[in-house]
């Protein structure tokens, strides 16, 4: 491991050099460690209601949570929560005029005010991870196009709302209902471009923990997170968690809309980067993941001393069962922190009694109660979705 490699992922303050389009000299940059680069990202500009975030894109906003911050708590504070919009969204919301239209294969189409939604059923709270389907895409090797996220496009919050099924009951399902589709107020600027609409099968829509939510960690949903209402589907990737919810449409057939039928899809079976034509399926439930957040790749640790590593994990669409520290020729179980529910982040820690040499290629491996375990090798796919390979780092003992 070379010197330059070791410093790569550290926070680079005031990096100089003959930067062309690079952010102004003196600006703090974060190195996401993306193979082959470009890998540096600014922590600016600041967004309202947000602490320091990795700015992947200003418009429409793509903001990533720095990894060290992500590991601070099982609940991600709203000011650190990642942000992802496919299209521009309204910058003002008038609550008196706000309506959610419920239609399609229903007994009676209705337009619901915010009060109607809140009173549709009993309030429900669920703690759940919200993770971008493309989280970690930038780490794909070989690289793929799309938003070049590191692993910080996820967070865990306590969501408050009413059950989607209670909202659907205001309209009543018609016979033959198969899927439920959501649309928000974010729309493409160009006529004919696909709107970001997403649907889930009816059995998912009717789950007791699938919500039309207005609360995030005890506060109103921030505008950047979809004020006033968003869909919450615990255990599923955030592409289904439609923000600024405006329309709920019950479908009696398959969904042929772009972001379901053409995009957000993964190979039905494992492929290689050379494969061209293969069947695909929609990306839906999340697999387990774990990250070391206490130490960056290349960090220096003390030889001859104990070392405690910390981080977070998620079980995905089922509760986390265990996290193990894995390295060449050894495995060591990690101690899990408080259990906030099956869909939540869970902190973990593990202590190595005495560091004797460099810790080369160590990682943490999560498993869930359904038996899903993080794989050794990347399940490569051309869109970089659902990354859950064991993430490995090297720590240098001195």
């Amino acid at each position: 491991m070379s010197e330059s490699r070791i410093t790569r992922r550290a926070l680079i303050a005031g990096a100089g050099g003959a930067a062309l389009a690079a952010p102004a000299i003196g600006q703090k940059l974060v190195d996401l460690g993306l193979p082959g680069g470009p890998s540096l990202r600014p922590l600016a500009p600041a967004f309202p209601g947000k602490d320091a975030m990795i700015v992947q894109r200003i418009r429409p906003p793509l903001l990533e949570t720095p990894l060290g911050v992500l590991g601070d708590s099982a609940i991600t504070p709203n000011e650190h929560f990642f942000v992802r919009w496919n299209w521009d969204f309204p910058t003002a919301i008038n609550v008196a005029n706000y309506r959610v239209a419920v239609g399609g294969a229903v007994k009676q189409a209705v337009e619901l005010s915010l009060d109607d939604i809140v009173n549709a059923g009993e309030p429900v709270e669920v703690v759940a991870v919200n993770q971008c389907a493309g989280n970690g895409r930038g780490l794909s090797d070989p690289r793929v196009t799309g938003t070049q996220w590191g692993n910080g496009a996820m967070g865990c919050a306590k969501w408050t709302g009413v059950r989607l099924k209670d909202v659907l009951a205001k309209a009543g399902l018609a016979p033959g209902a198969k899927r439920v589709r959501f649309a928000g107020l974010d729309v493409p600027p160009m006529e004919g471009a696909p709107q970001f609409i997403k649907s889930v099968p009816l059995d998912i829509a009717l789950r007791d923990d699938v919500l039309v939510a207005w609360g995030m960690n005890g506060a109103p949903l921030p505008m950047l997170h979809g004020y006033p209402l968003r869909i919450v589907v615990p255990g599923w990737f955030s592409t289904y968690w439609v923000k600024m919810l405006a329309t709920i449409e019950v479908l009696s057939g398959e969904d042929d809309s772009y972001y379901v039928a053409k995009s957000y899809r993964i190979p039905a079976r494992p492929i290689t980067p050379e494969d061209k034509d293969f069947p695909t399926v929609s990306i839906t439930a999340m697999p387990p993941r774990a990250l070391i957040t206490s130490h960056a790749d290349g960090a220096v640790v003390k030889r001859g001393a104990p070392l405690t590593l910390r981080g977070l994990a998620l079980g995905g669409d089922a509760a986390l069962s265990r996290v193990d520290l894995v390295g060449e020729g050894f495995e060591r179980p990690c101690t899990l922190g408080p259990d906030e529910g099956p869909y939540a982040f869970r902190l973990w820690e593990v202590t190595i009694p005495e560091v004797q040499q460099d810790l080369v290629g160590i990682g943490v491996r999560a498993a869930n109660i359904n038996g899903a375990v993080q794989p050794e090798a990347l399940n490569w796919n051309p869109s970089g979705y659902a990354r859950n390979v064991i993430e490995r780092i090297t720590l240098r003992a001195v």
């Binding site: 190195d31 309202p48 200003i58 910058t91 696909p194």
Partner: protein, 113 residues
């Protein structure tokens, strides 16, 4: 966020009422998008044809792509996302992206050393 006051009044112990929620009008002022793009031939074509929908960073942060891949990407913007890109500008956009990526990745490698 400005003037966003939504109060989640949690039910007090023993109260029968469900939590009350009050929504208030809300707005947000998003930061300016400075359109930071390296000064290379074709810059104007990129600003004119690409930045109506998204910031330049989306393009500049991609892994190094071949000319063919950039052509395919511009094509996808036109056919799928209905970007009103002037066909005559496509070669200039592609040339620019290839050159800008070279510059970006070279410059970054220099900074990391």
């Amino acid at each position: 966020m400005r003037a966003l006051v939504l109060i989640l009044v949690l039910a007090l112990a023993g109260c029968e009422r469900a939590p009350a929620v009050t929504f208030a009008d809300a707005s947000i002022t998003l930061p300016d998008d400075p359109l930071d793009l390296p000064d290379l031939p074709g810059r104007e074509a990129v600003i004119t044809n690409c930045t109506a929908c998204h910031s330049p960073s989306t393009m500049l942060q991609q892994p190094r792509l071949s000319r063919e891949k950039w052509e395919a990407t511009v094509g996808k913007m036109i056919t799928t996302y209905k970007a009103p890109i002037d066909a005559a500008a496509i070669p200039a956009i592609v040339d620019y992206m290839v050159a800008a990526q070279d510059a970006e990745i070279t410059s970054e490698a220099a900074r990391s050393r």
